[in-house]
């Protein structure tokens, strides 16, 4: 304190002397406002080289040399939509069997071999494809191709492992049936894809008991063919080396010429529907609402991406700012576009407080209506574009994400320009283009799925004109009109 009292008068005296040179506020001018950015740097995408092997297997190599790691993705270009009508889940079940043992290797042997090269292996199935992802250290390429070829060419489909997979899939589906986001999305897709093969991907645990070994073998025999597959390798290797090595391990994989059925685009939903699914003990309410965007051309995709960004891409978008920041209804509110080979789905997801379900749905519909009817101001369009362009490189930064992006572009046959001209395509979008798209697609006639605890929500659901109540296995229980609520 003593020191301070001595210094201060001197300090003010000094300031008076130098008053013209030193401003009283002791901060540099540049701190007062944000600096201007430099020009946007060029995005150089890694080269993707492709070749077709003699048995019809399409091979792509994405060159990246900054980590001694390789990511391998094998995509079987047939997914859940091709499961037999009576046995939905067959595609996923078949995919899950591949690492469960071969004629000579047990499940444990395979796991030992994978982990011995520091590897990780995973499987996923969508309506359009099954994907096997293998990440390992770059010295392990031969070993990984050896394991992969054994899994692909000699899967054993033993009864013991079929029972194990059935059990683990069953418990996984039962576990997920208590997750409101999973239940809501599954119910939304179940209704949107009502007469379409994609509906098969919304199966529940009950179907698993019907799937037998012959279903799996028949699916495997029909679709696990090199001329119905793509292999994408990402890492420090070139196409020549990759072709040589992949041919060595997979050249005995026999092609089978067969016409695979073409999947037509599904029709969009044509009227607003309110659906309720009860999950007991759930405190909050999860809302998923959306519609099919079909057919989705490449020209329409980019304006739709910008529209999505303005509406609900991030916390700075309209839905979040309105439902959470302004009205205080929601914990979150976002929108998304999910791509499939035959269509797209545009959907909104939100978690809200029970007492404001009706207000939240109405406010979301108002936001959709506004975006469909009023041209979006240019500054909002520019902000959305700035986000999308800035964020794109982040989406392809890891080997995993990069190879997933390339794999999906190839699986959906979107064309190389889908990503190589991403910046240019986004730059060209203006308010007019977004407005045209908003009017072209039926984003207003959505299916609204509300998931929550019936005991808490019953009073609030009566505010809707009509509600269809489904159980969490996708079966309609009853419909109830506003005047019928007790």
């Amino acid at each position: 304190m003593k020191l301070r009292t001595k210094i201060l008068p001197f300090f003010f005296f000094f300031l008076v002397l130098c008053g013209l040179k030193f401003p009283l506020i002791s901060q540099e001018r540049f701190r007062k406002s944000p600096p201007y950015p430099d020009p946007l740097p060029e995005l150089k995408l890694p080269p993707v080289e492709s070749a077709i092997l003699s048995n019809g297997l399409a091979l792509s190599v994405i060159y990246r040399d900054n980590l001694p790691v390789i990511t391998l993705r094998l995509i079987i270009l047939t997914g859940e939509s091709a499961s037999p009508e009576k046995f939905p889940g067959t595609a996923t079940f078949t995919a899950n069997m591949l690492n469960r043992g071969t004629l000579r290797l047990s499940l444990s042997d395979i796991e030992e071999k994978i982990e011995s090269i520091g590897g990780r292996f995973s499987t996923s199935t969508s309506p359009d494809y099954s994907m096997f992802t293998f990440t390992f250290s770059e010295e392990g390429l031969n070993e990984s191709l050896d394991i992969l070829s054994k899994m692909i060419l000699q899967p054993s489909f033993s009864e013991k492992e079929i029972a194990n997979v059935r059990r683990s899939m069953f418990y996984e589906l039962v576990r997920r049936a208590s997750e409101p986001e999973y239940v809501a999305k599954r119910q939304l897709y179940h209704l949107l894809f009502r007469d379409h093969p994609y509906r098969k991907s919304t199966y529940n645990e009950d179907v698993l008991k019907n799937i037998k070994k012959n279903n799996l073998l028949s699916f495997y025999d029909k679709y696990y063919r090199p001329n119905n597959a793509r292999l994408v390798l990402t890492g420090n290797l070139n196409l020549r080396t990759a072709t040589r090595k992949v041919s060595r391990y997979l050249n005995t994989w026999q092609r089978k010429d067969k016409e695979f059925s073409f999947i037509s685009s599904p029709d969009p939903n044509d009227r607003l529907k309110i659906i309720f699914v009860d999950i007991p003990h759930e405190k909050d309410v999860t809302i998923y609402m959306g519609n099919i965007i079909s057919p989705l051309s490449n020209d329409d995709f980019f304006p739709l991406v910008v529209l999505n960004q303005v509406l609900g891409g991030t916390p700075a978008s309209r839905l979040f700012m309105n439902l959470r920041e302004s009205k205080g209804y929601a914990y979150y509110a976002f929108s998304e576009i999910e791509l499939f080979k035959a269509c797209g789905v545009f959907f909104i997801k939100a978690k809200v407080r029970p007492e404001v379900i009706h207000a939240s749905v109405m406010e979301t519909l108002r936001e959709i209506e506004k975006i469909a009817q009023e041209e979006i101001p240019s500054f909002e369009i520019e902000q959305a574009k700035s986000y999308l362009i800035g964020n794109f490189p982040l989406k392809i930064e890891t080997f995993d994400n990069l190879s997933l992006k390339v794999s999906q572009i190839q699986a959906f046959q979107l064309g190389e320009e889908h990503w190589s001209k991403y910046y240019e395509n986004i730059m060209l979008i203006d308010s007019k283009k977004v407005h045209e798209i908003a009017q072209k697609y039926p984003i207003l006639t959505t299916v609204v799925v509300i998931v929550g605890n019936k005991d808490i929500l019953i009073d609030h659901l009566r505010e809707f004109e009509e509600v269809e109540v489904y159980n969490n296995k996708g079966i309609l229980q009853y419909s109830i009109k506003k005047e019928e609520f007790e």
């Binding site: 901060q27 950015p37 946007l40 990246r64 900054n66 444990s108 796991e111 011995s116 250290s137 982040l394």
Partner: protein
Amino acid sequence: MSKKEVLISSLILFLLLSFARGQEEKGFPFPIEQYKLKNGLQVILSEDYYLPLVSIVVAYNVGSIHEKPGKEGLAYLLENLMFQGSMNIGRMQHISFIQRIGGELNAATTENKTIFYQTVPSNQLALVLWLESDRMKSLEINTSNVERMKEALIEEIRHRKATDLYLESSIFFDQLLFPNFTHSHPVFGNEASLREITEEDVRIFYSTYYRPNNAVLSITGNIDKKKTLQLIRKYFETIPKGKEITPLPLVKFPEKKSIVNTHQDSLASLPAFFLGYRIAAPYSDDYYPLRIIDYILLHGKTSRLYKRLIKKERIAFDLSGGIEERRELAAFKIFIINSNEIMMERSKKAIFSEINKLKTTLISEKELKKSKNMFKMDYINQYSTYMERSIFLAEEYMAKNNLENFPKELERYLAVTPAEIIGLMNRYFTPKNILLNVKIK
């Protein structure tokens, strides 16, 4: 030479000395240059031109071990306050500035560090330096901000306690495992301690620890080194240095003795237990091979404990754990959830039996190689993105006060032999362990 010339020459010399020039360092898996500003801020730059992005990390050498009893949660509170505005940046604007340009950001507090990180398009480097320097220089600390954030964190604690099964037991176990308050209390504090924190506490904590001489600025990405250094100097060099911080005394584990305790957990739905071993200090000679032992026992579907308890005998419902560091201390933790108490006892026996096997029988070269390969992949993946690399470098620097050993560090982990494993198992995995049985209410 005139007096004026002497003055200018001295000034140049002073500037040159005060801004130690970095050199590209050899032996690293990627380029690195280090600098120290005259106010003590440590700068690490790593160029990578693959993508037009840059990741900026500001890490402060402060965490929950710097908190006093009764003020737990102060470090985490301050991390959150760093987003509540500074002299030239409004509340939450830091987040909106980054998100508007497509960037991603987050922050984290541990027992001994607080890290702020973001990745943005590389043409926006200056924006992030402007944002980070403003909150390092002039954070807005006022009653309204402090009280609002305290309430938010209390709500977060309530939510954690209502949803995070076994959290209560885990906190209790840490109190048994670590020797004192400093190392054992949770980073997020508790409701009572957060209420006790005053605006003055926050000010003192901020002015003591959030200073350039107690921080590392780590930048990875598509940068022009010269220009980046100019920008760093512009935004950070005039931030005054803080007082020298007296390092906290180093703590040792007390004499080994076995501890067995029981805790009734109000949320737990299945019986469980925690088992802990106090092991060698981080980055000591024994610590490196112990990390590989962690992989032999617990990492992956073919690790010894996973194979025995989950796959072969199917006696455990869930198995997790590994080595946990708290500055100068490290412990090996195992957490098992069982379907009933019989399975719990069988699980304990199976774990002790696996530990005994490693104490008495040489591990095969094949199995050891597998564990080393898995470790190596995880080690490399720690710097697989620009953000991860920036964080990794900042943490490495803060843990060892330099990066000198980094080029040989992976080799050090991988050098362990089967014979050494037997020795280490006998030294650290003794019956003098810490066991907490979790009972359901």
